[in-house]
């Protein structure tokens, strides 16, 4: 990778050469490797090196954005951005570039993860496949490792740099009519125990074979963390966005200080929390600040970038996406506060309900109400009199997430890290007293 000082020098010379009032250079470079397997075989295996130089300029309030993935074309990208800005009309949302603040140093770089080669990934995949074969199952999934560095330099004096690593393991197994899955994520490969994950999935795969039909309807549910994660992703997508909130498109719009969901629910975003995948600043170079979106069911805060903060007469919380995206600021380091229960205790406390491993291909049906529809996948079980009675064929849910969380009666103390909204999130399992299943499928 390019040395930090060379990146700063390149960005500095672009800013010096820029005729614009404001110039911002966002740089990202990295290596990404992914080993994918199916039918107990590595069938796709990729290794990639890429970079981005993204330039935002403004002449007054006329803004232009251009990017290239080649450093030698950075000056051309600057010229393109200037050309766009010169002929553009005034932006009503551009609020200038942020001024420098020193971000807190965070460590999220692991040499061993960055240096992991294809053979090491294959060895770990082999461990997963061996567990699957022992269980008479077929394994699929992927193991990825990546390392990257990000820098933001702007004409107001921001000069920041961070390097990080990331790794993710996704394991799926299938046997007869049964299946199971597990996801493990972090910034240190050594923290991922692929054998343990595979054993868990193999056990679940055996237990989900020969699922039975039950009728859709309202059920109490025990949601494993990966199922909660899907709902959290849509909660964040639909409403935890300073722009959507400002435009009154969010369930949080005008609700600060009001109860929006159940009292067990506390949702935060914290880019500096070492239990997630920390990153010290956003794509504008603004330091990450902790945001408490929902505290014990009450709407308490929102995330902002420079533009939405100005519109709301507040400060950026360090949640800007890159300037070529108009989606608005989003939480990329989400946390759902844990409770004091366990999945076992939740099951034991359920007279009649369903244990849900994961939801699949969910989508927002009504954004303002956070109504989400999707399917169950990788294990759905009927719980009767405090015990798992039998596996159930997959069902469709159509559920208002805020109402589901309103009915939450317990959260697990243990949380799991998984892919969030463009970053990582840490969520517990949850028991909801009421959850609506609206259809079923044939397997």
């Amino acid at each position: 990778m390019i040395e930090k000082q060379k990146i700063f020098d390149m960005a500095g010379s672009l800013i010096k050469a820029s005729p614009a009032d404001d110039t911002e250079v966002y740089f990202r470079e990295g290596d990404y490797h992914l080993t994918r397997f199916a039918n107990n075989t590595i069938h796709q295996n990729v290794s990639l090196t890429d970079a981005t130089v993204l330039i935002r300029v403004a002449f007054g309030r006329k803004v232009g954005v251009a990017s290239s993935n080649r450093l030698e074309d950075a000056k051309r990208a600057l010229d393109e951005a200037c050309g766009i800005a010169r002929v553009s009309a005034d932006s009503t949302t551009y609020a200038g570039l942020p001024r420098p603040e020193t971000p807190r140093e965070v460590n999220a770089f692991d040499e061993a993860t960055a240096g992991c080669d294809a053979m090491s990934r294959a060895e770990r995949v082999k461990n997963v496949v061996d567990e699957a074969k022992r269980a008479g199952a077929v394994a699929a999934g992927a193991l990825s490792t990546s390392s990257d560095q990000t820098a933001v330099v702007n004409s107001k004096g921001i000069v920041v740099h961070h390097r990080g690593t990331e790794t993710r393991l996704n394991v799926v197994m299938m046997k007869g009519g049964g299946s199971g899955t597990a996801e493990r994520m972090g910034w240190k490969l050594s923290n991922i125990d692929e054998r343990a994950a595979a054993r868990h999935v193999a056990d679940r795969t055996v237990k989900t074979d020969r699922p039975q039909d039950i009728e859709p309807g309202e059920y109490a549910v025990v949601l494993e963390p990966e199922a909660v994660g899907v709902l959290m992703r849509f909660l964040a997508y639909a409403g935890l966005n300073g722009k959507a909130c400002h435009e009154k498109q969010s369930f949080m719009s005008g609700k600060l200080g009001q109860e929006v969901t159940g009292r067990l629910i506390t949702v935060t975003d914290d880019g500096l929390d070492p239990s997630g995948i920390p990153i010290p600043f956003d794509a504008e170079g603004t330091p990450k600040r902790k945001v408490v979106f929902i505290e014990r069911g009450v709407a308490t805060g929102m995330c902002y970038d420079t533009s939405t903060a100005a519109a709301e007469h507040t400060q950026s919380t360090g949640h800007a996406l890159t300037s070529n995206q108009s989606f608005g600021p989003i939480p990329m380091n989400l946390f759902l506060a844990p409770g004091d229960s366990s999945l076992e205790r939740m099951i034991a406390s359920t007279t009649k309900g369903l244990l849900v491993s994961k939801f699949h291909y969910a989508n927002i049906a009504e954004p303002m109400k956070v109504v989400v529809t999707g399917m169950t996948r990788f294990g759905l079980f009927l719980v009767r009199d405090g015990k798992i009675a039998h596996p159930v064929k997959n069902m469709r849910f159509t559920q208002n997430v805020l109402e589901a969380f309103e009915s939450a009666s317990a959260l697990t103390a243990e949380r799991q890290m998984m892919e969030g909204l463009g970053g990582a999130m840490l969520v517990p399992g949850m028991k909801c007293e009421s959850f609506r299943f609206t259809g079923k499928t044939e397997f």
């Binding site: 992914l34 796709q44 990729v46 080649r70 009503t92 498109q249 300037s323 399917m375």
Partner: protein, 480 residues
Amino acid sequence: MREFCEKAVNLIRMRGASYGDVRTARQREQHVETKNGAVESVNYSEDAGFGVRVLVDGAWGFAASNRMTTEELSRVVARAIEVARASGTVLDRRIELTDVEPATGRYTSDCAKDPFRVPIEDKLAMLLRADRTLKAEKAVTIAQCFLSCFETEKTFASTEGALVEQKITETGGGLCATAIQDGELQVRSFPNSFRGNFATRGYEYVEAMDLPGNAASVAEDAARLIAAPQCPSGRRTIIIEGSQLALQVHESIGHPIELDRVLGLEAGYAGTSFLKPADAGKLRYGSQAVNVVADATEPGGLGTFGYDDEGVPAQRTDIIREGIFRGFLTSRETARVVGQRSNGTMRASGWHAIPLIRMTNVNLLAGDRDLDELIADTSDGLYLSTNRSWSIDDKRLNFQFGCEIAREIKKGKLGKVYKNPTYTGITPEFWGSCDAVTGPAHWKMWGTPNCGKGEPSQTARVGHGTAPARFRNVEVGVLK
């Protein structure tokens, strides 16, 4: 790029791969968006690099880089070989490719007006005109107008002697009017939701859409929707408008016919398929009215190209004929498993990605009914337009779609507007309930610019030709 590719092929051969290919690609994109009377964003991006794919002892390896130098080429070829050797350590089945005649040639998509040469100020002026019309309707809280253009130049060469060059230009755009009132949000889009419609055409395609001229009716619909009653639930006859039917085809036909899904190769992420290899030629997928082809040669289709990313020439193949399932979308690897030849559907989202089986233009062929006549022939039903949400299980059986708007059909006439319509079904049962497809006058190509698949995630631009069609006894309005 030819020289670079030839060098890559020689290096792959020297390093002992049984097969190898190289793809260089240069892509540029421009996105222009307005919102509520102002410029929301204008951005331009360029992206270039190359990817090397090798087969060593029956195992795949792929490496790619943005640095197009001779030194980097050597490193990347070596890395691809190293990755393939690692793949070979976890291999239950050696990968073999079906034969293909090595292709040589050049393909350029239709483009009458280079979209990158149209001044940005002209694009903004057109979008802002449409925006003003949208905002003239008081109920419209948020007016958004979009246009995008893409240009891809790529060269493919293989150790078998293939060498093809392609230049593909894609454009598109659309409008979206959002009405928000009392905690409720309704959206109306033109010509399609999620940023409009797209084609392998030049800027003439955007001009022909006449976004300003269509803005008033979009705004009126948004105003009607925010005041409309909830779509009633129940088993109904429905007529599905073309753009919604395009997504229905995409999700419940396009994905399940991908042979990699059928063979379990996507089980770790998107899922598999309810179809089995033996179903080809036997399974009843739909009614006699249902005829579907995969056609990468359809002029202007968003899934139209000259060659796929394995160098296989673009083709038109039967998918469903008179309701009977005929065959899958295949690659050289998967076709070999079922004893066939590739029908040329392997595409990568860029130089940095491996090709996957992707839909080309999966088209529902036109029937022979007139739309007005079909509505007149429907005593009690709903006319559903424009997608708002979609979801389907991992074998592509149970689906649920939400639409932007429903119109009641009573005694053969379109009646009142309903909001939040949804419908749900099981794939073969649903297509089996199709009793009429409208004729060629109503048939149109729809571009889906955001089809996600694979790990690392890839986005493909694919097409679907459809004409409005009628379905009987469909479960409608499960949302409360």
